[in-house]
Symmetry: C2
Subunit: 229 residues, 2 copies
DNA sequence: GCAAAAGTGTTTGGTCTACACCCATGA
DNA sequence: TCATGGGTGTAGACCAAACACTTTTGC
């Protein structure tokens, strides 16, 4: 084997696909698009794109996410490379899947129309092309693992959120129900939330205090293995 | 965009690289090879290879592992796709890294010679080519995460092992020391080890009982979030 | 005044930690 | 008989889970 093996070796198209999670206050959802080109045109699909020679996979994922959402700085993480030889019916394509978290309220109606995109409850996903269903399921597993130990749940909520909102987010992610007394004790005892003087008054007469996540306070705890859920 | 975009799109060489962990009774080690071809010939490197058009990444990793170790059925898991544009000095190559666990005693001297391979303590890695050092460090993180919640530590030991051996494995992985009373209580209380009548007599006069991991008993616990460390 | 959601404390059981001595054996 | 590593129990601290009522306020 010599250097020619490099330049001569079989090359493969490499893509990225993005699982975008959002939370509408009750349900955990994924953003899917109606595929605009063949093969499988018109089927539901993850948003994806090919990796160019002058960009790495993270850049490609950022580009794809930006195209669909108009946003930069989304929380984003590599999930897994999917490489089954026949996974794409049009030819050999390896796809590096990413998952991203987005505050669903920030997602513009207009982009939704432009891309024929739609939020689907995870329990009611339509049939997806290729191996995209497996990608979503794997992303859901990783989300559950991550969210318990890292402060990424907040990415799914507005900057200001109430404890009941945060609780129902965790309930949606884990498909469980939590005791509100134990929940607020544990979360507040971490000391990474700052209570505001302001109340959210839409969802109850009494109103619930807003909190914000304090990433500086969190930094000091990070090493010591915090558990959010 | 249409179907031609598929077949015409820029293609990229895709490789796999394998981080192979072993445990010699005291130290956690990684198996490295002296690279036999340019670029960077003679430098220390992970064992790797290119993905062919007719195989997926897992197959390529199995093939690479088999070539170096002569073994099939190694415990193996995808780690991460490394895709920096300039990561390989000879051209654009995306590498999907895998980590594998091996019982170091099973690794043949002969293959070690053939491939100019050598076991290195993780704290004393030589300089590695490209981004291989980052791969090893990321693999070490994943190993620590996995080993606490999944029964994969046993892959690094012989089928029959003693509690002191298992303890020193965990101590090596986490670079810590554990209390032997607490350790044996926790591990045995999981009920997934079967004690044999036989003793290991090399490392002490008294001898330590051998145990074997019982994967059937483990299956029944799997769902309920077992913690090994 | 009533419906609807927010907010809050205590008890209990289990789990984790810290800690030290005796045992079995080969030399 | 002694040196070496193997094996074991208990008490206290801490953490997690179970559990229900009062508060606020818009209607």
């Amino acid at each position: 084997m010599d250097i020619d093996s490099y330049t001569n070796h079989q090359k493969i198209i490499v893509a990225v696909d993005c699982i975008i999670f959002g939370f509408d206050g009750n349900q955990l959802k994924a953003l899917l698009i109606k595929r605009g080109f063949e093969p499988q045109k018109g089927k539901w699909s993850l948003m994806g794109g090919f990796i160019n020679n002058n960009e790495d996979a993270d850049c490609a994922a950022v580009r794809v996410l930006n195209k669909l959402t108009g946003m930069d700085n989304l929380y984003m993480e590599q999930l897994h490379a999917f490489s089954r030889v026949d996974r794409d019916s049009a030819g050999r394509v390896i796809s590096i899947a990413y998952f991203a978290l987005i505050n669903i309220a920030d997602y513009s109606e207009q982009l939704q129309v432009e891309h024929e995109a739609k939020w689907f409850e995870l329990s009611q996903l339509p049939e997806l092309i290729f191996d995209h269903t497996a990608m979503v399921l794997k992303a859901q597993d990783l989300l559950r693992e991550k969210v318990a130990r890292h402060p990424i749940g907040f990415e799914l909520l507005p900057d200001k959120f109430t404890l009941p909102q945060l609780q129902s987010l965790y309930e949606a992610i884990y498909e469980t129900s939590l005791d509100s007394r134990n929940f607020s004790k544990r979360i507040l005892s971490l000391g990474v939330l700052n209570k505001l003087d302001e109340k959210e008054k839409k969802s109850s007469r009494r109103g619930a205090f807003y909190y914000v996540f304090d990433s500086i306070k969190y930094k000091n705890l990070e090493a010591s293995g915090v558990r959010f859920v």
